[in-house]
Amino acid sequence: METTPFIWPFTIGLLFISCFLVIIIGIWISSLSHIDKSRIIHSIFTYKSILAIKEVFMESLLHRKIFRKNPVLGYMHMSLAFGWFLLIAVGHIEACIHYKTLSVPAYKAIFMRYFVSGPALTLSEKMLAACMDMLLLFVLSGVLLAYYKRINSRVFGMKKTTQLKLGDRIALTSLWLIFPLRFLAESLTAGIHNNGSIISQPTGQLLASFLPVQSLETPLWWAYSGALSLFFFALPVSRYMHIPVEVILIFLRNYGIKVQKRIDGYSRIQVYSCSRCGICLDSCQMTHAAIKDTQSVYVLKHIRNKNLTDEKLFNCLLCGRCQPDCPVGLELNNLRMTQRIESTKEYNSSYKYLKNGKLNISPQTEVIYFAGCMTHLTPAIIKSIKEIFAVADVKYWFMDEDKTACCGRPLMQIGQYEAAKKLIKHNREQILATGIKKIIVSCPICYKVFKEDYALPGVAVLHHSEYLLELMADKRIPIKKMPMRVIYHDPCELGRGSGIYHQPRLLLNEYVDVVPTKNEKEAAYCCGGSLSNIKIQMDERNQIRNKTLEEYITYQPDMLATACPLCKKTFAKTNKLNVHDIAEIVCMALNTNKERPKKETYLYFHEVKHLEETKIKMNIH
């Protein structure tokens, strides 16, 4: 078989990256838990693999999610990924047809134009050659957009773009060079041997008219091969590792594997699947407080580079607002959690003093009510719940009326998973001992942990907004519509955290008019009060809260409703809007004697606006 020295950089690079990927992915998969491994074995020959292939096609090649976010950005990624994939695939088919064999070495396909010195003869060869030219043009259009994105990222719907490291720069530069070099090399060869197609042939002839193509041809093929090789060698230390690793991720995810509460092969795969596109930067509210280095993309980068500091790890609200936007669908919150668990391992308390006493619960009791520590700080919510339960004649046991252990979630959020497990065990035993099959929780922070980590077989866990909806549907509480325009603020742990978006709205809509807002449901802002952030300063929290309120105020609602005591407390501090929990609003409607909250316009002393105007009026500047 004909060969030439410039195939070696490419071939060695390809060999290196193939071996590297096989080894590293092998290590990652071998470090998965037994359950996860058996998941792979049991799923690999099922429809799940077909679903995974479909997802790889839609996301890794077509980049559907990025398209939805911004069509130009989506096109850029699609032309590079899908275009390149087709170049390889069609190029290989073309080579197979030309050499009339199925075992064509990779370099033969990649450098085919160099080896095939005559023009295409058959119709199918002509068609394929034209197709290859068009595909290369398609990829080049993406490369052009990528150049432009570095200059002006706003066109791509992104306010911010990530900073690059050396490995990334090398990989990026070689990636940017690969396709223009290929185009030039193929055109030059076409200029000499007339083997080009619809685009490379005229370009080659044009170049041949004023360039010494004979002496330029080989150096350009060398350069093309070199760029490919450089890319392969830089890949392991660059963000482009996401290209191969994301494919593995998609398969494992389709097999039902999730990020556990520890660092394992799958969490490594997730970390390496981050393309550092920076889309998460735009959705992160920490930027509202000018905190710009703790976002998911940076944390994942630091995990990879093993230089993550606690300062960055814990300076996050865990609001999860970045997750829906992640084009790779990474479990960003859970990944951060694995690091927090690792980072605080040695501090876990024993909680040995916790003891379960005897319970004295009436056999008619239908539900357990667990208010949560935060709700104890907003007693108006507890009072409303009690009044509503009285109206609906709900027989309940108030589990944490006097004293109970914490639900465990705040400990979990800062990584104290082992300590939290002790609290969970304590509370869980108590709940199961009652034999009651329904537990109502007022705080979304508790709700999430009860739902996910308590393992209460046969016990339904409901947030009070769900339960009140149930009571309303069962006609145990009456419906009374009040003439009020209300904005519903989705608490992070209830909305994005637990997927409860509709129940609170359905309930509220029966009592007031719910005004939709721009950033709601999955895109809802965090109030800024989150317990998960133990590094943030109070004034930074206030900045985040004020930005959130700013948007709500533009709708001029009569009231801001929420379903979380912490959100309520955070917002109520400012006096800018009337803030109430859903339970309070329902109670307000039930209790006709109760005064309706008046619509007030607050002039808050921190924000005496128009001061500048006044100064002008006063002739001072």
């Binding site: 104890h376 700080l377 907003t378 007693p379 108006a380 507890i382 009072k383 009326e401 006097d402 109070m538 206030n542 407390k569 109520a572 501090k573 006096n575 002039l603 808050y604 002393f605 921190h606 005496v608 128009h610 001061l611 006044t614 100064k615 009026k617 006063m618 002739n619 001072i620």
Partner: protein, 342 residues
């Protein structure tokens, strides 16, 4: 004759007006309420010697009657416009006043205790503020609690809305510590059987006779002072309250049943001061109180020439401090007007 307009007819406003009238100026006081005296009218007895508040209010009224300055009651300032050396003041009564100098004496507002929801103000019946208690301490008022009996155990919470990052008020309101001691003693005098507890962070007995009163509260009246902030209060079926706190001196969490919870609410600049600052272009501190040129030598002088500051619109102040600050404001105004004659 120079004309001075004073915004606010509380203690500071009236005292400044009286001193400036004595100095031979023509003074007009604008008061948004029907009567003068401001917050003093809501108080019954004053620390540290239990002087009836009425006595001080009466002396202020006497000054109003005797001295030749005018008061515009039920009036608010709509706009202030500087016109060379003079100010044009438009009022809500559609009057136009021309003044050579303005004194802002807009006072303070009490912290809205509902903002500390965990203490249950306006949620539980047996939670009152120090201002509410002052009304209940008036002669003839009864102190019975919901259960129809005298409160047996009473708790005071210090620093409600002061020195509290969570409410955004970082400053000390100065008067609440001694108010708590005074009210605790008054309650003990009324209800000798009652146990009284004060939950504090620090006790700042800065004034004359304050420390002595605090000692007397402990020794003579057996009032218990517990260092620790209340975390939350909850209501029991009998309407009594269960409070949770930490005794930081013994380092233990603490739970207690009380019949009455008194919140010693702090001072805030409030809307009146904010709108006054807004209408005349005077800057506010981060705390919301009005900003003076400096805090030592020129605490009565605002950044706007011809506009002066008096009393608790600049910082939390006791009655005594307010009177002194008002008199020094009068001296500053007088000096300013004398200079401008030359």
């Amino acid at each position: 004759m120079k004309h001075i307009v004073i915004i606010g007819g509380g203690i500071a406003g009236i005292e400044t007006a009286s001193a400036l009238t004595d100095a031979g100026h023509w003074v007009t006081v604008i008061e948004k309420d029907t009567r003068v005296g401001g917050k003093l009218n809501n108080w019954s007895y004053l620390f540290p010697d239990f002087t009836p508040a009425e006595k001080i209010a009466e002396s202020l009224l006497e000054k109003c009657r005797e001295k030749d300055f005018s008061i515009l009651p039920d009036t608010e300032v709509k706009a202030i416009i500087r016109n060379q050396d003079k100010f044009n003041i438009h009022t809500s009564g559609n009057q136009n006043l021309e003044a050579d100098a303005i004194v802002l004496a807009t006072g303070y507002e009490l912290f809205d205790a509902r903002r500390k929801e965990e203490y249950g103000y306006k949620i539980y019946d047996q939670v009152v503020t120090s201002a509410d208690l002052e009304q209940l301490l008036r002669p003839g008022e009864s102190l019975t609690v919901a259960a129809g009996k005298n409160p047996k155990r009473i708790a005071f919470v210090h620093c409600v809305g002061s020195r509290d990052e969570k409410t955004g008020n970082h400053y000390c309101s100065k008067v609440c510590c001694i108010t708590g001691v005074k009210q605790a003693i008054e309650l003990k005098k009324r209800l000798p059987e009652a146990e009284i507890f004060c939950f504090y962070m620090d006790l700042r007995m800065y004034g004359k006779h304050f420390e002595e009163l605090y000692r007397e509260a402990q020794e003579k009246y057996d009032i218990q002072f517990i260092r620790g902030r209340l975390s939350e209060a909850s209501e029991k079926i009998d309407k009594s309250l269960l409070i949770k706190a930490e005794d930081t001196l013994s380092g233990r969490p603490l739970k207690m049943n009380v019949d009455l919870l008194v919140l010693l609410v702090g001072m805030e600049a409030g809307k009146g001061t904010a709108s006054a600052a807004f209408s005349c272009g005077v800057n506010c501190e981060e705390s919301g109180f009005l900003k003076s040129m400096d805090s030592l030598l020129r605490s009565n002088i605002s950044q706007q020439e011809g506009i002066f500051l008096a009393g608790s619109c600049t910082a939390p102040m006791s009655l005594n401090d307010t009177l002194l600050h008002a008199r020094s404001a009068a001296i500053e105004v007088n000096n300013y007007l004398k200079k401008s004659i030359k």
